[in-house]
């Protein structure tokens, strides 16, 4: 009986599974069919047939930008506007005991002062006699704005700020984020997650932790090579050249906000929520943004304050952060420090990884995710533990490819040290640790993509000819050279995007889309896509972006924009063209399906054609309006996700001064289908140069005693200049296998590897690891001195 029941249950389960499988299969087939249909309708033209997509064009807004007529938020000056400035808290951790604005208010030119004291807890209407205890006004990072002064000029506002008197009670500060023991002692640590995985699975009776520990110990014992290392990356700031800020005014009771934002379609809600109005009463504009690397997604409390002051004074208000405030408040990238022990087999394939890492994203505890350690490489056995530290610094903001650059520089350095220990070529060790497409040892892109890119990169770098084992290169005077590489991956799938496309009876074409161009070339790419679709030059397409009143498009973050706008613009364009084709077909007496839009004409079979203008005249009196939208996550033939990239650095190091110079840098990058190669290259140049910045120059430096940000001015926050970049060679990796996947975002991936690649190149040059980025002269000299003592 029991058996029968069990049999029946088994049979039922089997039937259910089969049904499920069949349903899944049917769905997959349906999806595939739908994809095929969509591909036939909307799909990109083959590379050789493209007229614009994949071709080199000058960006549409190039001239306004380079002749100074492009208006950024900072450049919007409204009639009768006030200039606002904020009083930043000078202490990194304190209580505000009192704030006195009397003297400031009396200064000539000062018009309005708003103190940003958090609201006291409300009195319960049912218990009107009970006044809840007031909360302390506690500040946890330097620079936090305590009060805003609006005045007739910048100078008057600054003078007003300086005249505000504040009484502080200083509290203990902690900023030693690289020091895990100190953080623990100070009670500043929080679990950041952990994961252990072994190839052998613990039995039912085993204690999992104990089993894993034993298993890891066994694997280390069996490993042919064991490497132990310490690596890290200091915190950096966004340092947008246009600081965060806005110029706001109220027009007929509605807020018009010019905001330096990466999120035109999403910040109206932020204003509305902050001002207790509804989003229909808010318009956000941003035609041009001076730097957006992940820190400009919200209006921020200072723009809300500007809006309140504008309402109170009845005058437009401009409030841009001062440079030092931009450094202190504008966002930072969490630091990361990692201790690791890894084991590898005799070929250098890593079999076991055991790491602990920590770091800080500021006063809101966060750090580098445990999920990206080790980076790209995914050994079969690992244990990883992350600890987040609460630091007295402003909370971090997503900085290009969050988590990835730090993880790359903290872990692929360990793989390189394995090569060093084995006396092997780093290239070979990286290659062996990719695995195969069938049995991958990496996350993200396919091993064959990384391998293909490595091959291209090695040729461009002349790797094999230039390579020498770590520390074994020839010296010229005190200068030695070295090579290093790193690999990376990123998702970059399309965000949601909606557009309104208008084709006018006179041939004019115009689009409205609430996206934004961070300087990535979004405007230009949109025009290329429609130009390609309509057979028109890009100048014939008027692209309207940068307003929250346009159809919504996603925020530009995480490399999601190019895919999203390509989806919406291509779909709208094709839909419009099909309608026009029907009209033209009737006129020419040909099949609509045979019509093609090329070279400013709609061309049919047998040489029949009409000009674009003529075709549009068939639309009638009113313009043809087409809406198209794309919802993020929908499978599409137009866009895709997940890319791989490989970068190689060639550096020279002066052993007497510890100075590192870039000689050459090679970046090979997959991004699926390349829409605009010129702007794609610019983004990669930029990523590499930002990478050189955090690898060699920049870090946020806090005073260990007071927590003050010591280098919150451009002259103190060291960044590379034009003379520091060496030769940069870019390869847009676009074999048909990748191109056919569709468009994938590019903003993040190439900024990931420079830290690891440059650190590895320096290690190759010196034969010594300089553990923590940036690799400044003091650190290079310290590492050399240490190795001499040990050696």
């Amino acid at each position: 009986m029991v058996n029968q029941q069990a049999e029946k249950k088994k049979a039922d389960t089997k039937a259910q599974d089969e049904a499920k499988a069949a349903a899944a299969k049917a769905k997959a087939e349906a999806d595939a069919n739908k994809l095929a249909e969509e591909k036939a309708k909307y799909g990109w033209p083959a590379k050789e047939k493209s007229s614009l997509v994949g071709k080199r064009v000058a960006r549409l807004d190039g001239l306004p930008k380079s002749t100074g007529t492009a208006k950024y938020t900072y450049d919007i000056n409204l009639k009768n506007q006030l200039i606002a400035k904020g009083l930043g808290c000078p202490h990194a951790h304190c209580k505000i005991k009192s704030i006195d604005t009397t003297a400031a208010a009396k200064l000539p030119g000062v018009v309005f002062i708003e103190v940003l004291k958090p609201a006291d807890p409300p009195i319960d209407p049912k218990k009107p006699d009970e006044v809840p205890p007031k909360k302390d006004w506690e500040i946890e990072w330097q620079g936090e704005i305590l009060a805003v002064v609006a005045a007739e000029s910048e100078a008057a506002a600054a003078e007003g700020v300086a005249a505000i008197k504040v009484e502080y009670e200083k509290l203990p500060v902690f900023v030693q984020e690289d020091n895990l023991a100190a953080a623990k002692a100070a009670g500043r640590t929080f679990p950041g997650g952990n994961k252990t995985q072994t190839e052998k699975i613990a039995g039912d009776d085993d204690d999992v932790d104990e089993f894993s520990a034993k298993e890891l110990a066994r694997l280390f014992k069996e490993a042919a090579h064991v490497v132990e290392g310490y690596y890290g990356v200091d915190p950096i700031t966004h340092c947008c050249l246009e600081p965060h800020g806005s110029t706001v005014e109220w027009v007929d009771g509605k807020l018009v906000a010019h905001l330096s934002t990466q999120n035109v379609s999403g910040t109206d809600e932020g204003f509305a929520a902050g001002l207790q109005i509804t989003s229909d009463d808010v318009t956000v504009h941003c035609d041009y943004i001076g730097g957006g690397f992940g820190s400009k997604f919200a209006p921020d409390y200072w723009a809300i304050s500007a809006a309140r002051i504008s309402k109170a004074t009845g005058r437009p208000v401009k409030f841009m952060l001062d440079r030092d405030q931009e450094f202190k408040l504008g966002g930072n990238r969490p630091s990361g420090y990692l201790k690791v022990k890894l084991g590898a087999d005799k070929d250098g394939v890593v079999t076991v990884w055991d790491s602990e890492h920590w770091g800080s994203g500021g006063a809101t505890p966060s750090g580098v995710s445990q999920g990206v350690v080790p980076y790209v490489f995914a050994p079969k056995n690992f244990r990883r533990v992350a600890t987040n530290i609460k630091n007295n610094a402003a909370p971090n903001r997503a900085w290009r490819a969050p988590n990835h650059p730090q993880a790359c520089a903290m872990t692929q350095t360990a793989y390189d040290d394995l090569a060093a220990k084995m006396g092997a070529d780093s290239y070979d060790i990286f290659l062996k640790n990719l695995g195969t497409d069938e049995k991958p040892l990496v996350a993200g892109a396919k091993p064959s993509v990384y391998a293909g890119e490595m091959e291209v990169g090695a040729k461009l770098m002349d790797w094999k000819a230039k390579w020498h084992p770590h520390g074994k290169g020839p010296a010229k005077g005190s200068v030695v050279e070295g090579l290093g590489m790193a690999i990376h991956t990123w998702g970059g799938n399309a965000n949601s995007s909606t557009i309104l496309l208008k084709v006018y009876p006179d041939g004019g074409v115009e689009t409205f889309c609430g996206t934004q161009d961070l300087g990535t070339g979004t405007r230009t790419s949109c025009a290329m896509v429609l130009g390609e679709t309509f057979g028109l030059p890009i100048e014939a397409i008027k692209i309207n972006i940068g307003s929250s009143k346009y159809p919504a498009s996603g925020p530009s973050g995480g490399s999601t924009t190019i895919g999203s706008v390509c989806e919406s613009h291509r779909r709208a364009g094709v839909d419009a063209l099909l309608k026009i084709a029907d009209l033209v077909a009737a006129k020419l007496g040909v099949e609509a399906a045979t019509l093609k839009a090329v070279g400013g004409k709609i061309v049919g079979t047998g040489g029949k054609s009409v000009s674009w203008k003529e075709a549009c005249s068939l639309i009638g009196m009113k313009p043809l309006e087409v809406m198209a939208d794309y919802k993020s996550g929908t499978p599409s033939p137009l866009s895709n996700r997940t890319v791989g990239g490989v970068q190689m650095a060639h550096v020279a190091v002066d052993r007497e001064t510890g100075i590192v110079r870039m000689k050459k840098f090679v970046a090979v990058q997959d991004m699926g289908l390349v829409v605009s190669p010129t702007q794609a290259e610019s983004q990669i140049y930029g990523s590499v140069i930002m990478g050189i910045a955090y690898a060699l120059f920049e870090s946020r430096i806090q005073d260990p005693a007071s927590g003050a940000v010591l280098n919150a001015e451009m002259k103190d926050y060291r960044l590379p200049r034009l003379g520091d970049i060496g030769e940069i060679v870019i390869n847009l990796y676009e074999p048909e296998s990748e191109r056919s996947r569709g468009v994938i975002g590019l903003g993040e991936p190439p900024v990931i590897s420079p830290g690891g690649a440059i650190s590895n190149a320096v290690a190759n040059a010196l034969g010594v690891r300089v553990p923590v980025l940036p690799l400044t002269p003091d650190r290079v000299l310290a590492a050399l001195a240490k190795s001499k003592k040990v050696g």
Partner: protein, 201 residues
């Protein structure tokens, strides 16, 4: 102490100073001149509060209002709607506010407007038809573009002085400007394109 002033007093005298070829004329003249106007000197005009200044900007004579503390950058941006020059750093380290004064590239963020009377001020807006911005467009030497106007003026000034600049000279010569997006590689290409005859050359 190692830094003891081991040198004897310079032994240098007013006589030596005035015995210079040109300096005789220069310093000597100054001496007599100052003596002559000693009384007047005590009455040198001290400006305070808002002034009306006559400036020459991009070939036009304009009148602006400025206090002594008002920077040229504030005047350009808030009164003349010339917002090409950008405020990036309070000091002179970013180059974003570069304009030309009497043909030389300077940071408008640290120049007082009151000091610019009688000088020829040229901003990026005056370069609308110049080969430099054209080359910046052709070489895509810009991303967000916030630093670009400063870079364009700096490049113009650099090439005026070094019209045949080599790549090495460009890499050495344009380090007064900061770009956060990292357009340097294409700025180098653009500068060299101008040397070779420009975007249409």
């Amino acid at each position: 102490m190692d830094r003891t002033h081991h040198r004897p007093p310079s032994g240098f005298s007013r006589r030596d100073f005035l015995r210079g070829s040109g300096a005789v004329a220069a310093a000597g003249a100054i001496v007599s001149q100052t003596q002559a106007i000693a009384q007047e000197a005590k009455g040198t005009r001290i400006l305070s509060g808002e002034q009306t200044l006559a400036l020459s900007v991009n070939g036009k004579d304009v009148k602006v209002k400025a206090e002594p503390r008002t920077t040229l950058l504030e005047v350009l941006r808030y009164q003349l709607d010339l917002t090409g020059a950008k405020p990036v750093s309070g000091d002179a380290s970013s180059g974003a506010s570069t304009v030309m004064i009497d043909g030389k590239p300077v940071s408008a963020s640290v120049e007082l407007a009151v000091r610019c009377v009688g000088k020829k001020i040229e901003t990026v807006e005056s370069l609308a038809k110049d080969a430099v911005p054209a080359a910046f467009v052709a070489c895509d030497a810009q991303q967000c573009g916030f630093c670009t106007p400063g870079f364009v003026v700096a490049t113009r000034a650099f090439l005026n002085k070094n019209p045949k600049a080599t790549e090495e000279e460009v890499r050495k010569g344009l380090n007064g400007n900061i770009c956060r997006c990292g357009t340097y590689a294409n700025v180098i290409h653009a500068a060299l394109m101008v040397v070779k005859g420009g975007a249409n050359g």
